[in-house]
């Protein structure tokens, strides 16, 4: 049930009762956030265009070929990449596969119910998949074991442990960090038996052509631009914009939904997205360096 805030009911001077902040937030979420945003700050204390503090860790899941955990504020996602062997398609006998999927289980937020993925998880998975294929993130030919017979398929499973808004940014960052962390074993294809034999230790890293990282923005009340919306702010936004930037400051994707946004604002967002992507890349590099050192 969705009750649109009647501004007069609460801003009218002669109100019969005062609500504590938490109750007010629950029953008038739009008005609650409006009180903050109109003063240039958000409900969690951030300035309008500040992104949440990010935290990256790699290599914690030893059963996976590569793994990472990314925290954007409190939104926590874990990406585990498992490499398995499969037959390539006849059209591309050397090309392997990268299959990303985001899971938003009932564990991570009361808004998700157990069962098959809902619309949000499906759309984010699809968009991440589009970014991987259209930007040529990985040379899929690098995943070849024996042309026409055996190639690697990298299943990148991104799991959200705590959802507090903006799963796309976190999921993409986790995917990139985990891909960098992937180590494949040296393997050979046995023609006679039709099997692949792999070495016991994983040593071969992947070569990534691009490091696309996303920055999501929202527009509140059709005027205020906010960066990195939380789960409380997301349902109240009139429009959302996600911009994906790579390491050479090229754009790798723009996804905009909602009400109209003018050109100047979009250009402003592109600039902010560049800075954010740079900061995230630095964090990922540090996390990878730490993992390699240990």
């Amino acid at each position: 049930m969705d009750i649109d805030t009647a501004a007069d009911a609460t801003t009218n001077g002669a109100s019969h009762f005062t609500l504590d902040a938490d109750t007010f937030r629950k029953i008038h979420p739009a008005e609650y956030n409006r009180r903050f945003i109109s003063q240039g700050v958000r409900a969690d204390g951030r300035p309008l265009q500040r992104f949440r503090k990010a935290n990256v860790n790699v290599g914690s899941i030893t059963t996976a070929n590569g793994s990472s955990m990314v925290r954007l504020g409190n939104t926590t996602v874990i990406c585990g990449i498992k490499a398995e062997v499969t037959e390539p398609t006849p059209e591309a006998p050397r090309a392997g596969f990268l299959v990303p999927n985001l899971d938003l289980p009932a564990l991570c937020s009361p808004q998700f119910r157990p069962g098959p993925p809902g619309e949000l998880a499906q759309t984010i998975s699809e968009y991440i998949n589009q970014i991987c294929t259209s930007t040529n993130l990985l040379n899929l030919d690098d995943l070849c074991i024996a042309s026409g017979q055996a190639v690697w398929v990298l299943h990148a499973d991104i799991l959200c442990l705590n959802y507090e808004g903006n799963a796309l940014d976190a999921a993409l960052a986790a995917l990139i960090a985990a891909l960098w962390n992937v180590r494949l074993p040296k393997s050979t294809y046995d023609e006679l038996e039709g099997t692949v034999r792999a070495a016991a230790t994983n040593t071969i890293p992947l070569v990534l052509n691009r490091l696309p990282l996303a920055a999501t923005f929202g527009v509140f009340d059709a005027q205020h631009l906010i960066a990195d919306p939380t789960d409380q702010e997301e349902p109240l936004l009139s429009s959302q914009l996600a911009i994906v930037v790579d390491q050479e400051d090229n754009l790798c994707g723009i996804l905009k939904e909602g009400s109209a946004m003018d050109r100047e604002r979009m250009v402003e967002c592109i600039g902010l997205a560049r800075n954010r992507a740079q900061a995230l890349r630095r964090l990922i590099d540090e996390a990878l360096a730490k993992a390699d050192a240990s």
Partner: protein, 257 residues
């Protein structure tokens, strides 16, 4: 059948054959990680990791990693018992948690584990105090290392999460596992040791009340050995209980400061 709600890759994929190195003979007094047969792996417990949930906990023991989130008490769907609440346990392996990638759909093993977790926790939870409400316990295995150990860790983690959520219980349930390898009781076996065992045991225990809520044994084992196994597990549960208390106290201290 391809899952239409996810990005799909190739239909069939398999793990490559890995040449395993020379296997060292199993020594019950000095295992691969240096433990003796009666020691459990060092335990790390933390609550409050999932801010969205009413209660949550994370357990790490050796390479095993389990996260649990509890939502509740919340309103039940209609047609539930009016006299007491419902406990709903959901156990899931993450796709990357074991050597072979797990499918997203729940398989029979996960359904069985969900039931076992329910059986282990339900006697402890005061459902009579929350009529017409449901407590949802969601367990996510991030990395698995030993099936019975994994289940035991999940039960312990769930009990911690329930405590963190403030759900009243008669006692916090601690669970531990053991394997029977060549006439010895080996506590907390990991994945490699499990392949050598000819039986396994998992005990869920309420230390303050000295009561067992759930016990599961698989394999052909003599009664003497079973008794030894149970005693070892109950001891281990008491040790786990100490760690649980410390973790809960630490989280209360964090909450107050």
């Amino acid at each position: 059948m391809a899952d239409r709600k996810r990005v799909v890759g190739p239909e069939k994929s398999v793990l490559p054959l890995v040449e395993s190195g020379p296997q060292q003979p199993f020594n019950p007094d000095r295992r691969k990680d240096g433990r003796s047969g009666d020691r459990i792996r060092p335990l790390f417990l933390k609550t409050g990791i999932i801010k969205q949930a009413d209660g949550s906990a994370y357990i790490e023991t050796g390479r095993l990693k389990v996260a649990c989130g509890v939502y509740g008490p919340r309103q039940s769907a209609r047609n539930k018992l009016p006299t007491q609440g419902t406990l709903n346990c959901d156990f899931k392996f993450s796709a990357f948690s074991s050597a072979k990638r797990r499918a997203y759909a729940k398989d029979n093993h996960e359904r069985e584990c969900s039931l076992i977790v329910y059986q282990a926790l339900a006697p402890a939870v005061r459902l009579d105090l929350i009529p017409k409400s449901t407590v949802d316990v969601y367990i996510q295995i991030l990395e698995s290392d030993g099936n019975a150990a994994c289940l035991a860790a999940a039960i312990t983690c769930a009990a911690m999460a329930l405590a963190d959520a403030g759900i009243e219980m008669t006692d916090a349930v601690a669970a531990s596992s053991a394997g029977y390898i060549g006439g010895n009781v080996v506590l907390d076996p990991d994945g490699d040791e499990e392949t050598l065992q000819n039986g396994s045991l998992m005990v869920s225990y309420m230390p303050s009340l000295n009561e067992v809520t759930h016990m599961m044994q698989i394999g052909e084992v003599t009664t003497n050995l079973t008794v030894k196994g149970m005693e070892a597990c109950v001891d281990a549960c008491s040790q786990i209980r100490t760690v649980m208390q410390q973790a809960l106290a630490a989280s209360l201290a964090d909450g107050n400061s």
